[in-house]
Amino acid sequence: MGAQYTEERIGLLLRLLPPAPVAWVRAAQELPAARRTFDDIVSRAEADIAFRDALAADLERTLERAGYEPSERTLSELRKLYADS
């Protein structure tokens, strides 16, 4: 295997794996917290009709008032569930 690895070849292969954008990596690392927030909001909306209606009427404001700070991706998922319905 070693014979095929010239220094030029190694350099080329190292170039093939550049770091992913930092913001993407951070967003992926924050997934567990984002999922917890999402699950919490959905559970609450299922148990509380008034909360669900408020989410449908004004998603961002309702979440802000309830003390949630969801990520943009979580917001987008919630919009599909409530605001777009």
Binding site: M1, E7, G11, L13, L17, P18, P19
Partner: protein, 186 residues
């Protein structure tokens, strides 16, 4: 380097399943370049599509980790998830008629190189931290000698010789390894 960077994939998966947030961070760190490379090198997706694929793949990994039967087979599983999502993205953007028209072989030539590149990165982990930094910054991050010298507090005049020396060590490291087979870091 993370405290958990020496863990095998199987150990990492088990910790993630137990809800260890630090292990999840390490899993994302370990595979972020791989998923990114499959999307942009293997399938040549646009940045926008690549970002969607990237986030979706890690969401699926997180939500489906319990379904992974062989915890040591994390990498092939991630590769498969990523390839499927890339095909979906290409299909949606009209680059292929349907996913079945294309099959899973799309990008296979480039994918072989991505796999080989991953094996080189694994070998890189066997070098000193300074060598890892220098080679990664020069080749993967495309940094100049001057930037590397400033960031690592090393005389700029020594960067070229250090790169050559570290490449030699990396080649030695690769010569002592078996060919990449899609397995774990163990």
């Amino acid at each position: 380097m993370s405290r958990l960077s020496t863990l095998s994939d199987a150990e990492l998966v088990n910790r993630c399943r137990a809800g260890d947030g630090e292990a999840w961070n390490e899993l994302v760190e370990r595979y972020s370049r791989y998923v990114y490379a499959i999307a942009i090198r293997g399938f040549r997706l646009s940045d926008e599509d690549a970002e969607d694929v990237f986030q979706d793949v890690f969401t699926r990994i997180y939500t489906r980790l319990d379904s992974l039967r062989d915890t040591a087979a994390l990498r092939p599983w991630i590769a498969q998830l990523t390839r499927r999502r890339c095909l979906d993205a290409m299909s949606k953007s009209g680059r292929v008629q349907t996913v079945s028209d294309l099959g899973e072989e799309q990008g296979s030539t480039d994918m072989t190189e991505v796999e080989e590149a991953y094996a080189v990165r694994e070998a890189l982990a066997g070098l000193t931290e300074t060598c890892q930094e220098i080679l990664d910054r020069f080749f993967a991050q495309d940094q100049s000698y001057r930037t590397i010298a400033n960031e690592l507090d090393i005389p700029a005049g020594t960067i070229a010789s250090r790169i050559a020396r570290c490449l030699g060590k990396l080649r030695d490291e690769l010569e002592g390894r078996k060919p990449a087979s899609g397995g774990s870091r163990e």
